[in-house]
């Protein structure tokens, strides 16, 4: 399984938290020597997910971890909110589906940009998204 080498938590409650959060993710990615393209993919996915937390759940808590599995290092990000949850995850993961009159790209796009992606949600309880970007993945 994964070994967690380093860990940080950040509370996201307002729009102004997005840029500092992205910068923190970048610091972690740089520290493990992730390539610029992979960093950019990771940070863009992270940005989509914190935006969703803010827009649909009034914020939440994010965890940034450096993880290792065998020889491979990577970054794992966890986004937890106590918002309304998502009734139909399959639908929410479709390109173009949005209840927020937006592009509906955040969730499916973040999945494409990640090496591993998992979303769990319970209506009335909240949503947890976990993604991993391997250093060379």
């Amino acid at each position: 399984m994964y070994i967690v080498l380093n860990k940080d938590r950040m509370v996201i409650e307002k729009e102004q938290d997005v840029v500092p959060y992205r910068n923190r993710v970048k610091e972690f990615a740089v520290k493990i020597g992730m390539s610029l393209v992979n960093q950019t993919k990771l940070i863009t996915a992270a940005s989509e997910l914190v935006r969703n937390m803010l827009k649909y759940a009034n914020g939440g808590v994010t965890t940034i971890e450096v993880i290792s599995k065998g020889r491979e290092n990577g970054i794992r990000l966890i986004f937890e909110d106590k918002g309304p949850g998502i009734a139909d995850i399959k639908l929410a993961m479709k390109d173009g589906f949005s209840t927020g009159k937006s592009l509906g790209l955040g969730l499916p796009g973040a999945k494409r940009l990640s090496s591993e992606f998992d979303i769990k949600s319970t209506v009335g309880k909240g949503t947890t998204v976990t993604l991993i970007k391997w250093k060379n993945g």
Partner: protein, 127 residues
Amino acid sequence: MDRIPILRMGNFLLVTIQVDLYDRLAQNLESDLVQMVSKTGARGVLIDISALSIVDSFMGRIIGNIGSVSKIMDAETVVVGMQPAVAITLIELGLELKGVHTALNVERGMQLLKEKILIEESEPDEE
């Protein structure tokens, strides 16, 4: 409230985004630019994003909005200087910058705008 400066160069408006934008700032830029286009009758908008290390769907939507509103007001929008890693990421994210042209750098962007406007002006669309 912070604002991003908009330069006027003849028929064109030029904006250089220097830092990763906070959302409010990006929204201000959108409305400021649109107002400037209507006030000055500018025919082209050039947005230099070479300092942006990421463009997510929020920023992409703002750029797209600037392009489509400007178009309605008869101005073309060119986005220049997108970093290669940003371009690669945008494609995977699935974001199309509809309604805006792209160019490698400011010079080529200017050139593109001039060509677009010349073509339009040489098309006889009135009697």
